[in-house]
């Protein structure tokens, strides 16, 4: 994917969460600010699968210490992280 926009990143993350983590939930209930880690939505395995997905989709490289509440607790935070990795 070439220079994805924030919306692209958001759609990928949202799609992953809805399809893999919250298949029984109303997609509309998952907002950009929904707490993913502190709210118990993303567990450790799902988090790492999301990491692998982000690295594959956006050709970025994440480090272990970047998998934190600051960077993964909401869709907005993930979008910011990936955007930073992409040099924005």
């Amino acid at each position: 994917m070439v220079d994805p926009s924030d919306n692209d990143i958001r759609e990928v993350v949202h799609g992953y969460l809805v399809s893999q983590v919250l298949p029984t939930d109303d997609p509309a209930s998952l907002t950009d600010e929904t707490a993913l880690l502190t709210g118990g939505i993303l567990d450790s395995i799902a988090t790492l699968q999301l990491v692998v997905l982000l690295e594959d989709k956006f050709d970025v490289s994440l480090a272990a210490h970047e998998v934190s509440v600051d960077n993964f607790d909401s869709i907005a935070a993930i979008v910011r992280l990936v955007g930073t990795k992409l040099g924005r």
């Binding site: 919250l22 939930d25 395995i45």
Partner: protein, 889 residues
């Protein structure tokens, strides 16, 4: 960052109000001062409750009082001073609980460690320096290096730094968190830590991120609620211990096996209760940390259990081990990397538990039980993680029948998880594989066999779940039919149930819960107050006596931490229980781990012992009781570890005073097991027959040693038995009233003792004992001597022991007027064979083959023979004492 609603959900607080920026914004009806007053009142009631139920120990209750005063002052301070005040309060708490000297050691070493983290050198140099210092501390802790560091500091110091230092360095390495010294020191010297060496591994970034992340008073209110919940856990723990727990030796059938498995697992309530109290206390001061244990009994899978049981440990493992391992093995593929990471996490958990054991108890504990438990749990989590994703991806169902099936499936998973964890936990806490297997073999003799154990556990778990699942299904239906709005309390209930069962605020109730705003401040506050009030009522005998004798007895048993023998046996069998007993059972000085081998505890730091400034140096606290080394120590109103005696000697009774130190007191044995009680019991066999007198032997320890005239009776006892710890002998001397020997007099040469002429034998004996007490009176090295003093060999062994005795005496030689060996009561008593059966403290609950001290010296078993022999021996001894100082009759 989490949304305010989610952060609120994590803390269990009302979302809309916690987002307020000032205390006054959090409530529409109460001013912040009124709210502080309400909170202070609730906290004061909690403190009262802790005192009523004797929650934990005296040190903790003192800390609670300090917390109450600190909370009030903290609320009145301007914002910029609150964190420094919290730090000062934490340091004061360390001084209060540990004492100024021990506290200074802890703070001093801690500040050095913290300072090294901030040295102006490269990170690797700082880490290297810390490793060197840590190695030095390990050497001191293990006893390899002899440095006079107080043993009491290790559990607390270790608890503060063993894991948090790793996380702090992690944050420094990756530039996470601030570099504030105040915040950093507050992170290490957390207020409740001094009372709870088994402490949640708080992450530094979480500590910073959650500090006042909402309305302070809302956070504090949550803290009080968590403290109340923690006390409930601790009381439930006592109930399980006193009334439900089954010893492994009692298991003879399937239901008993099931009962053992379940109650053994429920002992974890103490840990979860303590963690609730800890987090609650921190929330009082603005640290909005997440809950520590989240309904772990409702875990629906092994992965879920791992996530719920100790959230702080899970987060620590994720950060320090799991994620780094995954990134290291990522090139193998995601699935393989995940599997490797999970295995590494559990291996690390095993090793780190041993590491934790070392800092808290002084020995590195790597056992097959630990390895088996963590290994099996790793396999279960690994397998479960494969299925968990599949379950999450299952198609949704909208029908009630579908919801019913899903809920039933979840209920079965919860039951199965709980049953399996109970079995695993029993394996972990078993003394040996033979003991654990023996229970199953005995249960197999039951008509239903082990199957009934599983069934019983499943039934117990299923019954508990039934109500919850029914409510959940009903709530789902209600929400679906009402579109989540009109019946708010039902939707709130549904949201809460979903949160408890699934562990997250998601599902079809995710949107509904947003309406659960708990607008009114009084709602949670009232609930918490009602809980506290109920517990206070239950702690008042006047209210509980009408409930019936049995209920009153149960409640009475929960008002103290006294443990039965069976409870004590259970306590000593589990990892956490051992850890708690060894590292925390000690009141004010917490745990004194005096030796790496034994983990001795300081008797004089319990509530029954205290230091005195006079000659004796130590004494028993009148009308007190405590558990010490597995035995209940009860001190009567005269300061004796004995039953109550009338001051006036009953007619026809010979009253005997037994004087001495820890042996006389009965170090590590029950009140009825010390030699004085056995002596009295044996002497009184057959008393009253043919005009034979009754005997009362009263135990005089510490201060009562030389103040006996004020202790028992209007007349002095007819005989006084001095049990000395520094020689292999027991002396008999006549009690003679006189001014007490002062400590400063005793410190000099025994030849200079002012009262040597008055009652030479007593003074001489005291002088020798006093000098010994100046050393390591309760160090492990002293115990074998004390034990040997009473462990009189049988028959010919007595003479051998007698010959060996002088070599163990002080090189300086005996003081003036020390009784000659011919007056050695113990030796002569041994020769006559009457003083047997007094239990050696070291031999407590040990088979004979293991009755040896730390130097490997074995002691033979003892027993008391006939009372007639006893009486005649005592008469003979008293009559033959030099100068005829004792007579009976």
């Amino acid at each position: 960052m989490p949304s305010p609603e989610e952060a609120a959900a994590t803390a269990g607080c009302a979302p809309s109000t916690r987002a307020a920026s000032s205390p006054d914004d959090g409530s529409a009806c109460l001013s912040s001062r009124a709210l502080v007053l309400v909170l202070c009142t609730q906290l004061a009631l909690l403190v009262l409750l802790a005192h009523r139920f004797r929650i934990e120990d005296a040190g903790f209750r003192h800390l609670l009082l300090l917390t109450l005063a600190g909370f009030l002052l903290h609320a009145l301070l301007p914002e910029r001073l609150r964190l420094p005040f919290f730090l000062l309060l934490s340091l004061a708490g360390i001084a209060v609980v540990l004492g100024p000297v021990n506290g200074a050691w802890v703070v001093g070493i801690g500040v050095v460690l913290f300072g090294i983290c901030h040295l102006p050198f490269a990170f690797s140099v700082r880490v290297g320096t810390l490793v060197v210092v840590a190695a030095l501390l390990v050497a001191v802790r293990s006893g390899a290096v002899d440095v006079p560091v107080p043993g009491a500091i290790w559990p607390v110091l270790g608890s503060m730094f063993m894991f948090r230092l790793i996380l702090y360095l992690y944050s420094l390495r990756h530039g996470l968190g601030s570099r504030s010294w105040t915040r950093g020191l507050a992170y290490f010297f957390l207020l409740p830590n001094v009372c709870f060496p088994l402490f949640p591994v708080v992450d530094y970034t979480t500590f910073e991120r959650t500090y006042v992340d909402g309305d302070r008073l809302r956070i504090a209110q949550g803290g009080i609620r968590w403290m109340a919940h923690g006390i409930v856990h601790l009381l439930l723990y006592r109930f399980v211990y006193h009334h439900l727990a089954v010893g492994p030796e009692d298991v003879a059938s399937g239901p008993q096996l099931a009962s053992f498995m379940l109650t053994n697992f429920l002992l974890y309530l103490r840990v979860s209760g303590q963690f609730h109290v800890i987090i609650g206390m921190l929330q009082l001061f603005g640290f909005n940390l997440p809950r520590a244990n989240h309904h772990y009994l409702l875990a629906s899978s092994f992965s879920d259990f791992w996530r719920r049981i100790n959230i702080y440990w899970k987060d620590f493992m994720l950060k320090a081990v799991y994620y780094p391992s995954f990134f290291r093995f990522k090139h193998l593929g995601a699935a393989s990397a995940l599997s490797c990471s999970i295995v590494i996490v559990f291996v690390a958990t095993w090793l780190l538990h041993a590491y934790q054991w070392f800092w808290l108890l002084g020995s590195f504990r790597l056992t097959w039980q630990d390895g088996t438990y963590w290994g099996l749990l790793a396999v279960l989590v690994l397998v479960d993680s494969k299925f968990e994703r599949r379950r999450a991806a299952a198609p949704p169902t909208s029908s009630v029948a579908g919801a019913l099936r899903a809920s039933a499936a979840r209920g079965l998973r919860v039951s199965g998880t709980l049953a399996t964890m109970c079995v695993l936990w029993s394996l972990w806490t078993a003394e040996s594989l033979a003991q654990w297997g023996g229970m199953w073999v005995r249960a197999a003799g039951d008509p239903l066999g082990p199957l009934s154990a599983w069934m019983a556990v499943l039934v117990v778990a299923g019954v508990g779940l039934l109500a919850g699942l029914t409510a959940e299904i009903a709530a789902h239906k209600v929400v679906a039919s009402r579109s989540g709005g009109r019946s708010e309390w039902l939707t709130c209930l549904a949201a809460r149930l979903d949160r408890h069962l699934s562990g997250r605020w998601t599902g079809r109730l995710a949107g509904v819960r947003r309406s659960y705003s708990a607008r009114a401040w009084w709602a949670p506050s009232t609930g918490c107050s009602a809980l506290i009030a109920l517990l206070l009522i239950l702690s008042t005998p006047a209210f509980t006596s009408p409930l019936g004798t049995r209920t009153a007895q149960v409640l009475e048993s929960m008002r103290d931490s006294r443990l039965s023998d069976r409870d004590q046996a259970l306590l000593a069998s589990g990892y956490y229980e051992r850890l708690l007993a060894g590292a925390q059972a000690n009141p004010q000085v917490r745990q004194v781990v005096a030796s790496a081998q034994g983990g001795e505890m300081n008797f004089y730091a319990t509530r029954v012992g205290r230091m005195s400034i006079d000659f004796v140096g130590r004494e028993l606290v009148p009308s007190s009781q405590a558990n010490f080394r597995g035995a209940l120590v009860e001190v009567n109103s005269m300061g004796m570890r004995d039953r109550e005696y009338s001051r006036k000697k009953p007619a026809g009774t010979v009253r005997i005073a037994v004087l001495g130190a820890s042996v006389t007191m009965g170090w590590g044995v029950g009140t009825e097991e010390n030699f004085e009680s056995q002596l009295e019991e044996r002497l009184n066999r057959g008393s009253g027959e043919g005009g034979a007198p009754s005997y009362e032997s009263t135990q005089l320890c510490g201060r009562r040693l030389h103040g006996a005239r004020a202790g028992v009776g209007t007349r002095p006892p007819r005989a006084t038995v001095l049990a000395r710890r520094d020689a292999d002998r027991v002396d008999v001397a006549k009690h003679r009233p006189g001014p007490p020997v002062r400590r400063e007099d005793q410190l000099g040469s025994s030849a200079d003792l002012p009262h040597a002429d008055q009652h030479p034998r007593t003074v001489a004996a005291l002088g020798r004992g006093g000098r010994q007490r100046g050393g390591d009176h309760h160090s492990p090295g002293a115990l074998p001597q004390q034990a040997h003093q009473l462990d009189v060999p049988e028959d010919g062994a007595a003479q051998q022991d007698k010959r060996a005795a002088p070599s163990r005496r002080p090189a300086a030689g005996p003081p003036r007027d020390v009784l000659a060996p011919k007056d050695d009561l113990a030796s002569r008593a041994a020769a006559r064979g009457w003083l047997r059966g007094a239990r050696s403290p070291r031999s407590l609950r040990q088979p004979e083959s293991r009755r040896s001290d730390r130097h490997g010296i074995r002691y033979p078993p003892l027993s008391v023979r006939s009372p007639a022999d006893c009486r005649s021996s005592l008469r003979g001894v008293a009559g033959q004492s030099a100068n005829g100082v004792g007579d009976l009759g």
